[in-house]
């Protein structure tokens, strides 16, 4: 019997992992590693404390370790496309909305991983800055500045589209400067 709260947390972990990594299989692996480690450390969790923060902290630590070892790997192979590829998402009916989502996805791709983590935890998961600070293991002031820088970067990226960068395939489509709302 899985507690409802736990099931919700797992959905959040999977959403977060997918947003971090882009790739479905890598995200599933990350969540699986997280659950495996959580199980082996279940005795360390104290009832009454924040289960979500505990699970996210475990997932975050595994992700950071993976990134570190991957960086070595990347340097050796000059493969710079790690992780952030081959997204699949449900296509919304509206074309503009779909483009907007794709813009956001690309904008997220371009910001540093540490800003992306914090934006997702705070903005998508609705964590308090304090909770995010505990998950990521940095002071709350660092969380605040990452949120501010990350959001500005996303905003700039979504307002201005440079065709040469945006359409390396050269499909000739030029998108207009778009303001949301």
């Amino acid at each position: 019997m899985v507690q409802p709260a736990l099931a919700q947390h797992i959905a959040a972990l999977r959403r977060y992992a997918r947003a971090l990594l882009g790739d479905r299989i890598e995200a599933d692996d990350l969540v699986q590693d997280c659950l495996t480690r959580a199980l082996s450390r279940a005795h360390l969790w104290r009832p009454g404390t924040d289960l979500r923060a505990w699970l996210f902290t475990i997932l975050h630590n595994i992700h950071i370790n993976n990134l570190r070892s991957r960086r070595v790997h990347v340097a050796a192979n000059e493969d710079l496309s790690y992780g952030r590829n081959a997204r699949t998402m449900a296509a919304p009916p509206d074309q503009d909305a779909r483009l907007e989502l794709r813009d956001l996805e690309r904008a997220l791709d371009r910001i540093p991983d540490e800003q992306r983590q914090v934006l997702l935890l705070v903005g998508m998961e609705g964590m308090s800055y304090d909770e995010a600070a505990r998950v990521v293991g940095v002071p709350i002031g660092t969380i605040m500045s990452r949120v501010a820088r990350g959001r500005d970067a996303l905003r700039r990226s979504m307002m201005v589209t440079e065709p040469a960068l945006e359409n390396p395939a050269g499909d000739g489509r030029v998108r207009h400067l778009r303001r949301v709302k």
Binding site: M1, V2, R14, Y16, V31, Q32, R155, M158, R179
Partner: protein
């Protein structure tokens, strides 16, 4: 508007973490400053887009491996503190020879129907030594609470042992707290606090109910399996300091522990009553169990 709005507050507003007063202050600012209002609106829209983009991934059916792990984790967490308390007993059932000692921390309770008749219940000191050997020996996670959370062990123990208690400070001896764990005892609970020095040597302070008839307000120094141990009765609580150190070194650490706990009755200190090496030492009997 009392205070100017700073950038961080704007983001706290976006994420709805501001209190009523500051929220109103930000809203007043946004009415005057359309360019700031546009930014806030964009930031909120980013949050919404992220959820739209990734919710499907979160709501998709988990893989079978994830499902299996999820079930197991739910069970483990559901058992909660109870599981934490009984884990040592389960480990013993797996052949680790620990359950009997842990179950018998309070030796006043003695049930002949469930105990092999000849062996006496293990002594408090013996239990402390075994707990230390078990958890410091790498057989399991050494601690249940990290050093930062171990502060909560104090109040927990207060309640369970019925006496105010603070965690011993061994920093003068070069040992810092690694963490601790609660353990079941026949009466209430016991706790093991694990300390480590720069060289990585481990010392446990074991606190729990002790049999007054077997552990009087004296100290015991023992060497069994290269362990040194000092134990004494602090009011109603038994305290044992145990580690793989020389008897002299451990005595100093035991003194430091005693100093930082409640002052013992009559101001007794470990070196006031060094172990007489008496042949009546009850712990030597128990050591065979």
């Amino acid at each position: 508007m009392a205070l100017p709005i700073d950038e961080h507050e704007l983001h706290l507003y976006v994420d709805e973490h501001l209190g009523e007063e500051r929220r109103r202050a930000v809203e007043a600012l946004l009415r005057d400053r359309p360019e700031v209002a546009a930014r806030v609106s964009d930031y909120r829209h980013q949050n919404e887009l992220m959820r739209q983009l990734f919710n499907p991934a979160g709501n998709a059916p988990p893989t079978s491996d994830q499902e299996r792990l999820l079930q197991a984790l739910g069970k483990r967490l559901g058992r909660g503190r109870l599981a934490a308390l009984w884990r040592p007993a389960m480990a013993a059932a797996a052949g680790l020879i620990l359950a009997a000692t842990l179950g018998a921390v309070g030796t006043e309770y003695y049930d002949e129907r469930t105990t092999a008749t000849v062996e006496p219940m293990p002594s408090f000191a013996d239990t402390a030594a075994r707990v230390h050997s078990f958890y410091a020996g790498g057989a399991s996670e050494p601690t249940e609470f990290g050093a930062d959370a171990a502060g909560k062990l104090g109040p927990l123990l207060d309640k369970r042992l019925g006496a105010p208690l603070k965690l011993p400070d061994l920093s003068q001896k070069g040992f810092s707290l690694v963490g601790g764990r609660l353990l079941p005892a026949v009466e209430g609970a016991a706790a093991q606090l694990l300390y480590r020095d720069q060289a990585g040597r481990l010392v446990s302070v074991f606190l729990g109910p002790a049999d007054k008839t077997r552990l009087t307000a004296t100290q015991v120094a023992e060497r069994k399996n290269d362990l040194s141990l000092y134990a004494w009765l602090d009011g109603r609580i038994g305290v044992a300091v145990v580690g793989g150190l020389s008897g002299d070194e451990l005595r100093g650490i035991a003194e430091a522990a005693q100093h930082s706990l409640l002052p013992p009755p009559n101001g007794a200190r470990p070196d006031d009553r060094p172990n007489a090496g008496s042949d009546k030492n009850p712990h030597q009997d128990a050591s065979r169990t």
